[in-house]
């Protein structure tokens, strides 16, 4: 290393040190030992109180997915559940509703906690609710394709409900990736669908607003799938979600928690959400590969270029009433990934709504209970007579 480099480095370091010493001295002058001790004491008290609350919790305190339901169909790892109605048959909405959730995370987010259950709100409003539980795929499921999920599993669920309820058409509500599936299904099997509701659903994957969209564009998804022998573990998906907000989701969330976790209600809800957040099923390779390549990388759905089961998926074929609802602060599915859906549709009766909340807030926030879910119920009831 030449002397010149050494001198330059030294000069840089000295400059840096000078600036920082000025800052440090200024900050030290502000230091208030009394306030510091009070704050440390408060933190310690909070941690101890929180630990006491944590130790007092019983499994039933943090249970989710508690509404009574019956398994009515099983194909492979997928199960179709029918919720026990909470209103008399005379008050039931005539057209049954099928809810399709994403393959990532689990559908019980809609019944996460008793006082904020979306399903309960639906049942109390008289909706006849069925839900798909995609299960936890294992290696033997590695060859299941997008076509299998939509034209086989979903189609059999729809046919079962139609047959069981003696209705030619049913309502379908899709969430996130499950909404993309529901949209594709409706485009291909419109004769079986009465109304389509999509919540926080990606349709136009050319969006630059979401990091997942940007990252997926350069990703060699097939090498990742091969590395994990055909089934990508759920933790890999969890990592991708955590990276979206690295400090907020791995650190600040828990720092903030210790201020409030002595409150049993807060803590039980926090633990429920924590369990749900990391309860990510593995992703079957064939479907994941097709979804990343056809959607995120080639944006085939909105362009009308997607082929499924030998058929072209044309969104203009969708003529049924459509409600598309999004979240303004969605860091997973930005508004710009859903909004173009409205122009790509063939429907005349189409409603686009967006709310000042986040991806999960659409289902768990107070705005959800007061505004979003009642709005969906009203929209469906009006069109299910």
């Amino acid at each position: 290393m030449s002397e010149n480099i050494f001198e330059k480095s030294l000069a840089q370091y000295q400059e840096f040190q000078k600036d920082w010493m000025e800052n440090a001295v200024a900050l030290t002058e502000q230091f208030d030992p009394k306030k510091y001790m009070e704050q440390m004491q408060e933190m310690q008290d909070n941690i101890l109180e929180g630990m006491k609350t944590l130790l007092s919790l019983k499994p039933e305190d943090v249970a989710s997915d508690q509404l009574e339901k019956e398994e009515v169909l099983r194909i492979g790892k997928m199960r179709l559940f029918h919720y026990v109605p909470l209103v008399p048959a005379s008050k039931k909405v005539k057209v049954p509703l099928l809810i399709t959730y994403a393959l990532v995370n689990r559908q019980y987010m809609l019944d996460l906690q008793p006082d904020r259950s979306v399903i309960k709100s639906f049942l109390e409003a008289g909706l006849d609710v069925y839900i798909i539980d995609w299960g936890y795929p294992t290696a033997e499921d590695m060859y299941l394709t997008l076509d299998d999920h939509i034209n086989w599993y979903m189609d059999e669920c729809v046919d079962y409900i139609r047959k069981e309820t003696k209705k030619d058409k049913i309502n379908i509500l899709g969430i996130c990736q499950g909404g993309t599936f529901s949209t594709i299904y409706t485009a291909l099997h419109q004769e079986k669908i009465k109304n389509l509701v999509t919540l926080v659903v990606p349709i136009d994957f050319s969006s630059n607003d979401g990091m997942l969209f940007r990252w997926s564009r350069f990703m060699n998804i097939d090498s990742l799938i091969e590395a994990y022998d055909g089934v990508v573990p759920g933790d890999v998906m969890n990592v991708a979600y955590l990276i979206l907000k690295p400090l907020a989701l791995t650190m600040d969330k828990y720092v903030g928690m210790t201020d409030k976790w002595m409150d049993k209600d807060y803590l039980t809800n926090f633990i429920r959400m924590e369990k749900w957040t990391f309860d990510s099923p593995a992703q079957v390779g064939a479907t994941l590969s097709q979804f990343i390549k056809d959607m995120y990388q080639d944006n085939k759905l909105i362009k009308g270029e997607l082929e499924l089961g030998g058929k072209n998926v044309n969104l203009k074929n969708i003529k049924v009433p459509v409600l598309c609802a999004c979240a303004d602060r969605d860091h997973l599915v930005p508004l710009s990934a859903s909004e173009p859906f409205m122009d790509a549709l063939g429907s005349k009766d189409k409603t686009f709504l967006h709310f000042a909340t986040g991806h999960i807030g659409m289902f768990t926030s107070s705005r959800s209970r007061k505004e979003i879910i009642p709005g969906i119920i009203d929209w469906l009831k009006e069109r299910s007579k």
């Binding site: 480099i5 499994p59 090498s223 590395a227 690295p246 400090l247």
Partner: protein, 458 residues
């Protein structure tokens, strides 16, 4: 003010000296400390005696220089002398009067600090606690005897403990089993709060704000450690080990480059110079160029064609090693990008702290500092993660690491192929058959249902 600045300087200096010395020597704190230090009294007396002598000496000297201009030839002489003697920085860097005053001001603060220490020692809450404890427990042996009597059998105690916590039997059972090894328990504690490792390090960083020198030295390393903790928790367990010390890894890679690869690969002198200067962009450029140079040189060795009976196996081993090297180079680039943002956000935190201080925003507690640290750092990383640059580097690392896993799995499978167990390749073949058969059954069922419907059976 006299017309003799030199005299003024001396007067101010000795006024401060006397005030501070008086203040310090007469303080209870100093007396209390001096009492317990052998020889301190003699030292104090010597100091007290020395002050007037020194003062008189300087006063005499100053009074012999009626005007400061008279000092000029003397000062010029020393300046010239110092210029000709480059090692004699002492003369160049003699403290100014203002600096000297500052030194004494600090000294006065030190005296105040001694007061605080004394006060703390007198009111030492720990001492109070232990005093009370020992007064109540004059015989520790007796205390332990009682304790043992109370719990004649520790294992019995732990057996009964779970009943106090219904529903947590398994948990407490495990706890009891781990008692001989409590560290292991701590590692496995289910209530271990994520993120707190990093949080604690932020706290350490903040603590050092009170000691500027320690802070400057430690800040960067701590910042990188925090980000390493955060990043570590973002990766699957099997990847975490490689990310535990990303900065050390970078250093290791640079050493590796120097020791092993340098005869084969030449990196631009400009990059090396910037590396030496600590330019964060240089690390990124280094690893980018390293990838290219690696492909041109070292990689050729790992991709050489094998010969003989074990040709294929040897090629697989070499491929696994090659993909590993490439994954590590790619990870170096990823870490360089991440650390660059860390360094930048470190500077932004400094600016924000300064801004807030100027605006009169109070930053008196750790939580205040944490909030500044968190908001600036998170914003910096969100900005980075939303760039194509990061997406490309991140996806490149994911792909190269996946290539390594694929190559490694092939090596493992080759090893296992001699054992009487099915390998993944065997199982995949079976899964494919099951999948095809399931679809065939589904189609047949549909066909049967259609026929039955047509025949009026249903």
């Amino acid at each position: 003010m006299s017309n003799n600045p030199f005299m003024d300087y001396q007067e101010q200096f000795f006024k401060l000296w006397n005030d501070n010395m008086d203040q310090m020597l007469n303080s209870d704190a100093y007396k209390a400390i001096a009492k317990n230090i052998p020889g301190a009294e003699t030292y104090t007396k010597a100091m007290e005696a020395m002050v007037p002598n020194v003062e008189n000496y300087w006063k005499t000297m100053a009074s012999s220089m009626p005007a400061v201009t008279a000092m000029n030839p003397v000062m010029d002489y020393w300046k010239d002398f110092a210029d000709k003697m480059p090692g004699m920085d002492y003369f160049k860097n003699m403290p100014t009067a203002a600096q000297m005053m500052d030194y004494w001001k600090n000294f006065a603060d030190a005296a105040k600090m001694m007061e605080t220490w004394k006060e703390f020692a007198e009111k030492n809450p720990f001492m109070e606690y232990w005093k009370g404890f020992t007064e109540n427990m004059p015989n520790m042996g007796e205390y332990w005897q009682n304790f043992q009597k109370m719990l004649p059998n520790m294992s019995e105690y732990w057996k009964t403990f779970p009943s106090m916590f219904p529903g947590m039997n398994n948990y407490w059972d495990s706890f009891a089993k781990m008692m001989p090894n409590p560290e292991k328990f701590a590692e496995l504690a289910p209530f271990k709060v994520p993120g707190f490792e990093a949080f604690t390090k932020v706290y350490d960083m903040w603590k050092n704000f009170g000691d500027p020198n320690a802070m400057v030295q430690d800040f960067q390393q701590k910042f990188n450690d925090i980000m390493a903790d955060v990043l570590k928790s973002l990766f699957p367990e099997n990847v975490q080990a490689f990310l535990a010390k990303p900065t050390e890894f970078m250093n290791m890679m640079v050493d590796y480059y120097k020791q092993f690869v340098s005869p084969w690969v030449e990196i631009d002198a400009d990059i090396m110079e910037r590396l030496a200067q600590g330019d964060p962009n240089a690390y990124i450029d280094f690893f980018k160029q390293y990838q290219d140079k690696y492909a041109e040189s070292v990689e050729k060795y790992f991709t050489i064609y094998g010969m003989g009976l074990n040709r294929e196996a040897n090629e697989d081993y070499m491929k696994a090693m090659n993909t590993w090297n490439k994954a590590m180079i790619s990870m170096g680039e990823l870490m360089a990008v991440i650390n660059k943002t860390g360094q930048e956000s470190f500077e932004q935190i400094a600016e924000k702290v300064q801004e807030e201080l100027k605006e009169g925003v109070s930053l008196t507690t750790f939580r205040d500092f944490y909030n500044v640290w968190y908001s600036v750092t998170e914003a910096a990383y969100e900005k980075l993660l939303a760039t194509d640059e990061f997406a490309k580097v991140f996806d490149d690392f994911s792909d190269r690491y996946a290539q390594y896993m694929i190559a490694q799995n092939k090596v493992y499978e080759r090893m296992l192929a001699f054992l009487p167990i099915p390998t993944n390749t065997d199982m995949k073949s079976l899964y494919r058959t099951v999948y095809d058969l399931r679809k065939e059954v589904r189609d047949l069922k549909k066909a049967v249902a259609a026929l039955e419907e047509k025949g009026g059976k249903k």
